[in-house]
C-alpha cells in the first residue's frame, strides 16, 4: 500500500506538530506519522517552560525567535494548553552567582529581552516562599509555561484544518530517499521530516543524538505558593555537564496551582524506571530553595528522555546526503521552547524562504560528514 504526499513528518510530538502546523498552513500536503499517540514521548514528560537561554548566540537566537512565535500564538491557544506568562526568576545563592546574574541581565537587555535584577529583598517580595538568605536573582518577565501534550494536540488540530493527515499508532520502520516505510506500506514524499526525538538516529543513521534521562515530581494544588518558574543558576552547570548525573533546582507553578519539581540529568540510562535516589536528591535540592515544599503533597513522579546533541543545539535542516530528508530533532531540554521556530525553519527550507534567523548553526551537516548516506 503506497501513499503519496508532499511532506511526510515522522513524529507527532511538539516538534513534529509544529512542523506540520507550519507546512500545512503554507499549503503543502502533509502527513504526520507516529507509532504512538500525540505528544506521548518527551513532549509528555517535559516541563513546558518557554525560556530564553543565553548559552550561546545560536541558542539565544533560536529560543528568542521561538518565544516570539509562541507569544503571537497565545491568544488563540485553548484553555487546555494552560499558557501562562509567569516569567522566570534565575535564583542566585551567593555573590558569585549574583555576578553571573548581572552578566545574564546585560546579555538579555542588550538583545532586547526584558530582564530585571532583583536583590535579596526584592527576590523575597517576588517569591515569599523562597528561603530568606538568597542573594538575589534575575527576573525575565517574558518567559512562559504551558502544558505540552495539549499544545502539540492544538498544533496538529490546526494542521488538520489545513488538510494535514495524522496517522497515529503506525510505526515508521525506515526512512529512505523520498520514502517512509511504515508497518502497512510506504509513504512517498517530496520532503521527509525526521522529528522523532531521541529515536531520530534509528531512522537517520549517523546523527549524534543521545538520550538524557530526567525526573519530575508534581504536587497537589497549592495556588500562590510560587509565582514564577524558579531556576537555580547551577541549572546551567547541570545542563552543561556531559558525563555526570546531576540535579538542579527548577520548579514551575502550573496554572492548576500544582508545582512541577525538577530537574535531573543522567546519561547512558536506557531504563525509564523512576530512581528514588535521584528523586531524593532532586527534592532535597528543591527544599534548599523552597523549604515549604517539604510539606507539599507529592502525587506523581515520572521520567522522560531528552534528545541531546554534543553542542547542545538541535539539528534543524536538510540532511547533507539525502536531500529529501530534513532533521528536526535533538532539542534537549528546550524542545517546547524551540518547537515553533523549528517548524518555521523547516518550512523555510522546504519552501525556499529566507529564514528570519541564520539557520547555519543548526544544520545537520555540522555533525555529519558527507560520507554518510
Amino acid at each position: 500500500m503506497s501513499v503519496s504526499t508532499e511532506v511526510a513528518i515522522v513524529g507527532a510530538g511538539i516538534v513534529g506538530a509544529a512542523c506540520a502546523y507550519e507546512l500545512a498552513r503554507a499549503g503543502l500536503r502533509t502527513i504526520v506519522v507516529d507509532r504512538g499517540f500525540v505528544g506521548g514521548g518527551a513532549t509528555a514528560a517535559g516541563m513546558g517552560h518557554i525560556v530564553v537561554m543565553d548559552d550561546s548566540e545560536a541558542q539565544f537566537a533560536l529560543t528568542r525567535y521561538s518565544q516570539t512565535l509562541w507569544d503571537a500564538l497565545e491568544r488563540e491557544l485553548p484553555a487546555t494548553v494552560e499558557f501562562e506568562r509567569c516569567g522566570t526568576i534565575w535564583v542566585a545563592t551567593d555573590d558569585e552567582e549574583i555576578a553571573e546574574v548581572r552578566r545574564k541581565c546585560a546579555y538579555y537587555t542588550q538583545r532586547g529581552v526584558a530582564a530585571q535584577l532583583l536583590n535579596g529583598e526584592e527576590l523575597r517580595e517576588a517569591e515569599p516562599n523562597l528561603r530568606p538568605s538568597l542573594a538575589g536573582g534575575l527576573l525575565v518577565p517574558g518567559d512562559s509555561v504551558l502544558y505540552p501534550p495539549c499544545a502539540a494536540a492544538y498544533l496538529l488540530d490546526r494542521a488538520r484544518e489545513h488538510g494535514a493527515d495524522v496517522h497515529l499508532g503506525e510505526q515508521v520502520v525506515a526512512i529512505g530517499k523520498h520514502k517512509v516505510s511504515v508497518g502497512g506500506g510506504t509513504i512517498v514524499a517530496d520532503h521527509i521530516v525526521n522529528a522523532a526525538g531521541q529515536h531520530a538516529p534509528e531512522l537517520t543513521p549517523g546523527i549524534n543524538i543521545k538520550p538524557r534521562k530526567g525526573h519530575l515530581v508534581i504536587t497537589d494544588r497549592y495556588a500562590g505558593m510560587i509565582h514564577h518558574q524558579l531556576v537555580e543558576l547551577g541549572y546551567l552547570k547541570s545542563a552543561h555537564s556531559v558525563t555526570t548525573d546531576s540535579v538542579a533546582f527548577n520548579v514551575q507553578p502550573r496554572k492548576t496551582g500544582q508545582l512541577l519539581i525538577g530537574s535531573s540529568r543522567q546519561y547512558d540510562i536506557a531504563e525509564s524506571t523512576v530512581d528514588t535516589r535521584i528523586l531524593a536528591r532532586m527534592l532535597e535540592r528543591a527544599f534548599e530553595y523552597i523549604p515549604r515544599l517539604r510539606g507539599a503533597s507529592s502525587i506523581r513522579t515520572w521520567t522522560g528522555f531528552r534528545a541531546a546533541t554534543p553542542d547542545k543545539l538541535p539539528l534543524i535542516g536538510r540532511h547533507p546526503d539525502n536531500a529529501s530528508v530534513l532533521l528536526a530533532a535533538g532539542h534537549e531540554g528546550l524542545g517546547i521552547t524551540t518547537s515553533l521556530a523549528t517548524g518555521r525553519l523547516v518550512a523555510d527550507q522546504i519552501l525556499g524562504r529566507k529564514t528570519e534567523i541564520p539557520i547555519e548553526p543548526y544544520l545537520p551537516s555540522r555533525q555529519m560528514s558527507s560520507a554518510h548516506a
Partner: protein
C-alpha cells in the same frame, strides 16, 4: 471518655460522637469538605481514604483526608480550596 466532642466546621460548632472522624463532622455540619476544580461542592465519598474528596484543612494543615483523622476537642475544620 466523653460521649460527644465539640469541633468547629467552617466556624460553626458541631457536636460529634466520640471516635468520629473529621469527615463525619463535615457531613453532620452539612458543610462541604472542598470545592472541586470546576467549582462544585464536594463531600466525603468513599469513606476509606482513597478518593480524596474529603480533603479539608484541619487545625491549619491543608490537604488532610478528613476520613483518616479522628476528631479532637476544639478541632478546626475548614473546607479546602
Amino acid at each position: 471518655m466523653p460521649e460527644t466532642i465539640t469541633v468547629r466546621v467552617n466556624g460553626a460548632t458541631v457536636e460529634v460522637p466520640a471516635g468520629a472522624t473529621a469527615a463525619v463532622a463535615v457531613v453532620m455540619a452539612r458543610a462541604k469538605s472542598r470545592v472541586s476544580v470546576a467549582g462544585q461542592p464536594r463531600m466525603p465519598f468513599c469513606g476509606m481514604g482513597t478518593c480524596f474528596e474529603c480533603r479539608c484543612e484541619i487545625n491549619g494543615e491543608t490537604q488532610k483526608r478528613g476520613c483518616q483523622v479522628l476528631c479532637q476537642r476544639d478541632m478546626e475544620i475548614r473546607s479546602n480550596g
